[in-house]
């Protein structure tokens, strides 16, 4: 099921390695089995493949040559940042080159007047904010993986974070990128103004999962650090009430900087792990961060407190100082590893739904959880409807991984059925390739393939990922009911 696409390259691996070594220092070309092993998977470790060769270029010219070479000999290329992706996007191709951008680590420029940072793709997300700190600025999108993941990976996935309801995703926070095409040509996309001429290729590249070009430079926008941030924690004895509270805050005209929900299992896992003082008897908690000017935050804290109480919260706490604010967040930010401690393995899903569908979706997930006999903890970017159900399983039990994947697939199809999407921020990669056949019809998928061909007609960049072939969907469709006859007939359609 996770096999990479077959290709016919016009060169043998020894010849390829020789050519690579002719312009990249030989310790940056890896081909021994034990050197390749660390690259066999990304953050989704259930999917593994060993590439022919790993190359770690240091200059843009070298990247151009690597791509030119692969183009010439029809060799697949998979770009890799930090490998924290959760959908198998950086899963190597068995007959291809794994192109690591790990050596592109410098912050080229921080311009506080223009409020931008120009960085190489291998720079870690958090490193940008750290470097901008002395100017009172920061880079807003903050994936939970921000200490490790790279900005190149963030652009390729259009990553979000807990603050994207107010500050947007990667696509809203970048201004210019430089990419290398499969032919080895360098293109500058975007500009130093707020918009650029022609089609919005910056948006098209963002979230394109390494399928259209290799990103070698990124100019991000920086924002002034808010004067003050304050967090409220509200406990609810019912997830429906917590969901309504989210709607009530937004209806009151307040856009929180972050608005996160955790369910009972996630709360207890996080509490066990980091001792954030979360209320263990709650069915759901909401964390609501308000930021802005001092006056604004004070006013909004009072309002949100009232709204929480009015929405039936059993308890509302306001972090008394910066320390407590960080403690409240710590549990949420560590939710994945915390849940990971409950079971040998966990599988993180990433659907987005219209927020009002939350109660229905949680109920269906609970039913499926019983059916598949696999527990689920739910972590939710509640403000923007992005749901992360974490399925607990044990890969050592025969058949359990397969059951987990099937269960996960059902959850994604459920998200589509209620008017949502199979992926909010982790990307399709290899993982959700089948569910793409549920979300899109033949014509739409063909349009995606045509877009791909506009950049990479031979299909050498990250083959087999992100957009399924129509053939694949036909096979998948034979096992599954499709659009005309959707699963979950009990649910209202959109």
């Amino acid at each position: 099921m996770h096999n990479t696409e077959q290709v016919e390259s016009k060169i043998d691996s020894a010849g390829l390695i020789d050519e690579l070594c002719s312009f990249v220092s030989s310790d940056s070309v890896l081909f021994e089995k034990e050197d390749l092993k660390p690259y066999e998977c990304d953050g989704l470790s259930a999917y593994r493949a060993i590439p022919l060769v790993v190359v770690l270029p240091e200059t843009i010219e070298q990247v151009q040559k690597v791509l030119g070479l692969c183009h010439h000999y029809s060799v697949p290329v998979v770009a890799r940042g930090a490998g924290t992706g959760l959908s198998g996007g950086a899963l190597p191709h068995e007959q291809g080159v794994l192109l690591s951008l790990a050596k592109f680590k410098s912050i080229i420029e921080i311009n506080p007047e223009r409020r931008i940072a120009r960085v190489q793709p291998g720079v870690r997300n958090l490193a940008i904010s750290e470097a901008a700190d002395e100017f009172g600025l920061y880079y807003a999108p903050d994936p939970s993986s921000q200490i490790a993941c790279t900005i190149g990976g963030n652009v390729a996935e259009n990553s979000g974070g807990v603050h994207c309801l107010k500050y947007g995703l990667t696509v809203h926070n970048i201004q210019q990128i430089k990419i290398i095409t499969i032919e080895g040509e360098i293109l500058t996309i975007g500009g130093s103004g707020l918009d650029s001429a022609g089609y919005d290729l910056l948006a098209l590249m963002t979230g394109s999962e390494g399928m259209l070009g290799v990103i070698v430079e990124v100019t991000v926008k920086l924002l002034p650090k808010p004067e003050r941030a304050q967090v409220l924690l509200a406990a609810f004895d019912d997830v429906v009430k917590a969901g309504e509270a989210v709607g009530n805050i937004i209806a009151a005209g307040i856009i929180p900087a972050g608005l996160e929900m955790m369910d009972r299992l996630a709360i207890s896992a996080a509490e066990d792990f980091v001792h954030a003082g979360y209320p263990l008897d709650a069915e759901a908690i909401l964390l609501c961060e308000l930021d802005g000017t001092n006056e604004e935050v004070s006013e909004h804290v009072l309002k949100v407190r009232e709204l929480f109480k009015h929405s039936g919260a059993t308890e509302v706490r306001t972090a008394k100082d910066e320390n407590e604010r960080l403690t409240f967040w710590k549990g949420r930010k560590a939710a994945f590893p915390a849940v990971g401690r409950l079971s040998p393995d966990y599988y993180c899903m990433d659907g987005t739904i219209p927020r009002k569908q939350l109660p229905k979706v949680l109920e269906s997930i609970a039913t499926l959880s019983k059916e598949y006999e696999l527990p689920v903890a739910n972590v939710f970017h509640a403000g923007d409807g992005n749901l992360h159900p974490l399925i607990l399983y044990d890969a050592n039990n025969p058949g359990e991984l397969e059951r987990t994947e099937e269960f996960g697939g059902k959850i994604l199809e459920l998200c589509v059925a209620v008017g949502g999407t199979i992926t909010g921020e982790h990307g399709v990669g290899m993982e959700k390739i089948n569910q793409m056949c549920v979300q899109f019809d033949r014509l739409e998928l063909s349009q995606f393939h045509a877009v791909k061909a506009a950049f990479d007609p031979d299909g050498l960049l990250n083959p087999g990922k992100a957009v399924p072939t129509l053939h694949r969907c036909a096979e998948f469709g034979a096992m599954h009911v499709h659009k005309g006859e959707l699963p979950f007939p009990e649910l209202e359609r959109f």
Partner: protein, 357 residues
Amino acid sequence: MNSDTSQQLQQQVQSAYKEKTALCIVGGNSKVFYGRHVTGEPLNVSDHRGVLNYEPTELVITARAGTPLREIEKVLSDNGQMLPFEPPAFSNDATLGGTIACNLSGPRRAYAGAARDFLLGCKIINGKGELLTFGGEVMKNVAGYDVSRLMAGAMGTLGVLLEVSLKVLPIAEMEATQQFECNASEALDKLHQWSKTPLPLSASSFHDSVLRVRLSGATKAVEAAISTIGGDSTDSASRYWHELKEQQQDFFKDDKPLWRISLASDIESLGLPADYENDDCLYEWGGALRWLKSHVPADTIQSTAAKLDGHASLLGTPRQEGQFQPLTPGLLRIHKNLKQAFDPENILNPGRLYPGL
């Protein structure tokens, strides 16, 4: 008034595809001056109208592309919400589809984002007459390439917009405008100083030695910001920003060619030849947008803009068609490939954006 003409529209595109006849997509005809002229059979989208879904607490509105922009804005403001990118309409007939196709955004753009930033999804007809849906009504969606955003600013050359879903935001509790007498360099300095601090800025302009700054947000935040930045308060500010957005101010009532230049905000002088150095210029977007009235030759201003890593477009008039910044050869190739991918017979608004696209 609501009506669904998607079938007729699809049939018309399908037969144009078969017969290889060019189509000129028309919404409210309010932005003909933007871009180049198109000759083709009219494809009238303005009858395809109506709000399809609007739930204030989801912060999303979905409407048919022919829905008048006014109608959308009315529905939103009745619920205390707005289109955050403050689009110019240029006429009462402006449609939602045309607004998105041109990706034009108003004074709030520098502080809230452009039309493309709020676009969540759309339904389109491509140049083969196929009905396709991309994106959706949710805030976060990375399934497949971001084809919806690609439609913003494509001026109908990649697809006919049928339905559009946008993220909306609450209208700020309070809005105030402060003004300052100063020269251009002082104005840019002030704007940069303020932009580095978390002030609730929502618009800015500089012209004729007057810098104007709009603040929007919670009442207390706006009041505090006023005392931080100082300046004189202004009356009729909302009319000022409206007339700026709609290009109804005296500045725009002139026969000289009007250039829209988008560039880094801290550039003080464009470095145009001496003859044009003192041509009248109005600044917006914290300095990142300049409106220049000038007879400067197109290639001079466009190569100047390119050197500054920005771009310049000429707004058309009834007598002269508009013109966008030429693309680099590499980008032009990708543009042509994409046009081919969406509209292989080159029938959708051919040439509106660039010759051959």
